[in-house]
């Protein structure tokens, strides 16, 4: 990846809402170069989307997020991909990762209630072919996500005005 695209990526990972004009100013390049760079990053599948980082608890009081670890039996020839693809299809599922170590797949899901998440695990995940066991961890509090700190207003300890 060229240097400009690397910097664009860094900036967009921090804040995807910067306009092309702002990005151009920050990097000291033209807007056309920014447009071209972003287009290339998208075409190469390096940037696959843009999404807000949401404080779910504030958005919906009842929202729950769970991290579910699955132990599974890999299928001959296709490894874990088949199962991962099946799980990916569910709308409730935010992320699906294949892990090294004791567990095999890690999934995060966000639901509108504890019950819904629990039912989803027992009725949709646990019953899938190849799933040996599930461990569900409910998220109690968020501190930081994608380098963004939740409740940041308390984190700047500097005096409001100084020489």
């Amino acid at each position: 990846m060229n240097n400009v695209n690397k910097k664009l990526l860094d900036l967009l990972k921090q804040n995807a809402r910067l306009s092309n004009a702002e990005l151009a100013a920050m990097l000291g390049i033209s807007e056309q170069e920014v447009t071209a760079g972003i287009k290339q990053l998208e075409q190469e599948g390096i940037i696959i989307g843009y999404a807000a980082i949401v404080n779910e608890e504030k958005a919906d009081d009842n929202a729950v997020t769970a991290i579910i670890e699955l132990k599974v039996t890999p299928f001959k020839d296709r490894g874990f991909d088949d199962l991962a693809h099946t799980i990916m299809q569910y709308d409730e599922v935010d992320t699906v990762f294949l892990l090294s170590g004791a567990n095999d797949l890690s999934i995060t899901i966000t639901g509108t209630s504890l019950r819904k998440v629990a039912l989803f695990v027992s009725e949709r995940l646990a019953v899938l072919d190849g799933v040996l066991s599930t461990t569900t961890h409910f998220v109690l509090r968020r501190y930081k996500e994608k380098s963004h700190v939740f409740n940041e207003e308390h984190s700047d300890e500097r005096s409001l005005v100084s020489p």
Binding site: Q14, E22, M26, S159, L160, V161, S162, P163
Partner: protein, 391 residues
């Protein structure tokens, strides 16, 4: 009852609290203010330096150091200055480790200035120079710098301000609040005026690492014939994001440093020990952290300059420090009025340029020592404010 009016000398009572302080009081009353008003980095001190501080605390290194500072630290400072400003200073006798650049400025002034002396203070500039001159019994003589000159010091303005009483020139570049810097050829013209005089230069280079585009910072001390008449003031606050550690230094000619060291001995003993150890690590192991911060500042700088120019508050391109100094004359307001209205109506705090000397009137100081997200939010509010003014 004791009469404090009589107890406290007129000279001290006459010192005005800085305009920044006044503005701070206003800003504090307003709930939910977002500030672009700080003069210190938003970054944390690089981890290696923090870790070293923890380490020396664990080892119990809590005693005073040598008066001039740890010799290892002075050696590293000497090496740094040799590489960075191409000027050689003997760690033994030509460098003092001080409590911030602030103390170094104070020592320099107290060592040089006596009643009747004039000290030239280019303005707009940092707030402490004139009050210290006054306390020493000297007279601060402002030299006006203007936007037409990109807020640089002109050799002819300097020449015009010199009298037989002139003791010293403060050279405040890279400049707080304007972000202006002096390039080599511009400094050369200043040096030309000073060579052959008995005027000392107190060169406040606290922002020296923060210059953008073109050649890196040049110190007037490195120009021919100038080292013997220059006291370089620098420190760790800005470069290494170490404001709270209170550590800086000065380097200069042996006879002057010798006198300054006496003052330092009597009023400070030695600078904070833990901070000194951390500073050694900062100088030797934190270059990458500094470079990362500098790159980030530069991006923000361009973003903020563009932001102000887009909203019609023209903004000359600052080449140093972490401030921009947009002109607000088009609004028809004084800078303090502008800042007060902005804070009350949009809850954004920027500092009136007039807090940095009369020649700062008509400008505001905007700091970009904030995250990009914070900056864009604040700029958007300022833009709304300016739009509403036009109606």
């Amino acid at each position: 009852m004791i009469d404090y009016e009589k107890v406290i000398p007129q000279k001290i009572r006459d010192i005005q609290p800085s305009g920044i302080r006044k503005f701070f009081d206003i800003a504090q009353q307003v709930e939910g203010v977002i500030s672009l008003s700080v003069g210190e980095p938003d970054f944390k001190t690089p981890w290696a330096a923090r870790k070293e501080a923890i380490n020396v605390l664990e080892k119990g290194r809590t005693a005073y150091t040598a008066n001039a500072g740890l010799i290892q630290l002075r050696k590293e400072i000497s090496l740094y200055l040799k590489n960075f400003i191409r000027t050689e200073y003997d760690p033994e006798g030509e460098i003092i480790v001080t409590v911030g650049g602030s103390e170094a400025l104070d020592l320099a002034m107290r060592a040089l200035v006596q009643p009747g002396d004039e000290v030239l203070v280019p303005e707009p500039s940092f707030v402490c120079y004139s009050p210290i001159v006054t306390v020493c019994g000297g007279t601060p003589v402002p030299i006006v710098m203007t936007e037409e000159d990109k807020f640089k010091l002109r050799a002819d303005s300097l020449k015009a301000a010199i009298t037989p009483r002139t003791k010293a020139l403060i050279l405040p570049f890279p400049n707080n609040p304007t972000g202006s810097i002096m390039r080599r050829e511009e400094l050369e013209k200043i040096a030309e005026v000073l060579r052959g005089t008995d005027i000392m230069v107190i060169s406040d280079e606290i922002y020296s690492e923060m210059t953008y585009g073109g050649e890196k910072h040049v110190s007037i001390a490195s120009l021919e014939g100038m080292q013997e008449r220059t006291i370089v003031v620098n420190g760790f606050s800005k470069t290494y994001a170490m404001t709270g550690w209170r550590l800086g230094y000065c380097a200069g000619p042996r006879p002057v440093i010798k006198q300054m060291l006496k003052l330092h001995q009597y009023c400070i003993m030695s600078s904070p020990t833990v901070s000194q150890y951390a500073a050694i690590t900062a100088l030797t192991k934190c270059r990458e952290d500094v470079d990362r911060m500098l790159e980030e500042y530069d991006m923000r700088r361009r973003l903020v300059v563009k932001g102000f120019n887009d909203m019609g508050l023209t903004c000359f391109e600052p080449e140093g420090a972490f401030y921009v100094f947009p002109c607000i004359k088009s609004t028809g307001m004084k800078s303090s009025e502008f800042c007060e209205k902005l804070i009350y109506s949009k809850k954004v705090a920027v500092v009136p340029g007039s807090a940095f000397g009369e020649s700062g009137e008509g400008y505001v100081r905007v700091s970009y020592a904030y995250s990009v997200h914070h900056i864009t939010t604040a700029l958007e509010r300022i833009r709304e404010f300016v739009e509403e003014l036009k109606k």
